[in-house]
Symmetry: C2
Subunit: 164 residues, 2 copies
Amino acid sequence: MLRISKLTDYATVILARLAAEPERRFTAAQIAADTHLSSPTVSKLLKQLHRRGLVSSTRGLHGGYLLARSAAQINAAQILDALEGPVALTECAGSESHCCIESSCLVGRAWQRVNHAIRRSLQEITLMELAGLNGPGNQPSPLDRGIPVALGRIATRAPKREPL
Amino acid sequence: MLRISKLTDYATVILARLAAEPERRFTAAQIAADTHLSSPTVSKLLKQLHRRGLVSSTRGLHGGYLLARSAAQINAAQILDALEGPVALTECAGSESHCCIESSCLVGRAWQRVNHAIRRSLQEITLMELAGLNGPGNQPSPLDRGIPVALGRIATRAPKREPL
DNA sequence: CTCATATAGTACTAAAATAGTCCTACTTTA
DNA sequence: TAAAGTAGGACTATTTTAGTACTATATGAG
């Protein structure tokens, strides 16, 4: 029903690998071998992750990649954003009038709120949790707190359905 | 970042239109005119919604479509399911061993939980809310209750990443 | 200073999912 | 029995996604 792209999934796998050994500098080839992903794909993703500031890189001999900050400071929303950009559940790009009638745009508004709710929940999920690195303590996830969605009554005037 | 397909969005628009006048029987052409969607697309979607039991249909002269049950009894998860089927955030179809290493599948497991959390939140959202039909009372949405995600520690044995 | 080993960036190709259209068959009622 | 409607499937085009290849640039070792 809701999907993330394969590449985003791969990126999470790659980040999880880096998170498992935060001190170690990995070459793209090493990660490819560890994750069984194709090496060009891994390179491509690491480049993208670097551009978005999730990993830091060193060029040249003995170069490689490193998590830019600790796994606890990286969350799922950031990973999604890095790979897929700020795309929303629905896209009603640009003009607000020729795509749908007023009632339909109210629907769009509702989706947008759902979108925000999901996004908030994604922000609560750290890479540490995604990577299963919660430590031996089995402490409860911060996600056990609830996520309010607050989809109350919607304004009468049709608002623009804009990306997240 | 997360997307639903255009068709699913359209379907919501169509359902919202039906919900606005629950007594009235709409022809596909009428809905198309109201929503400014193309008539073949509307027909296609209504057929699909009928097959999934969200709308009831009457054939022949003066036939048309009607919401199968009240807008309060239809939720967003049902709509998504009807249109997109039980697809999950990640798809690690079938075999569990040749797609990724153990740690990566732990990642998959985490996505699955996120998936469930999102799904639960979607189930809380009724068509009434999506259509902005909460009535003049401006009563708070049932979604103001929190949604626990419960992404705690994950098992060590790599589980299969299966669809929702 | 030069070579080997890495990342960085860009462009291209192939495959798959999505969106949209068309056509034919069946049903009901006037 | 004809008109107005839904039901269903097949087909096409478009877009997105995934994957590959190639070139440039940076770094450190000998």
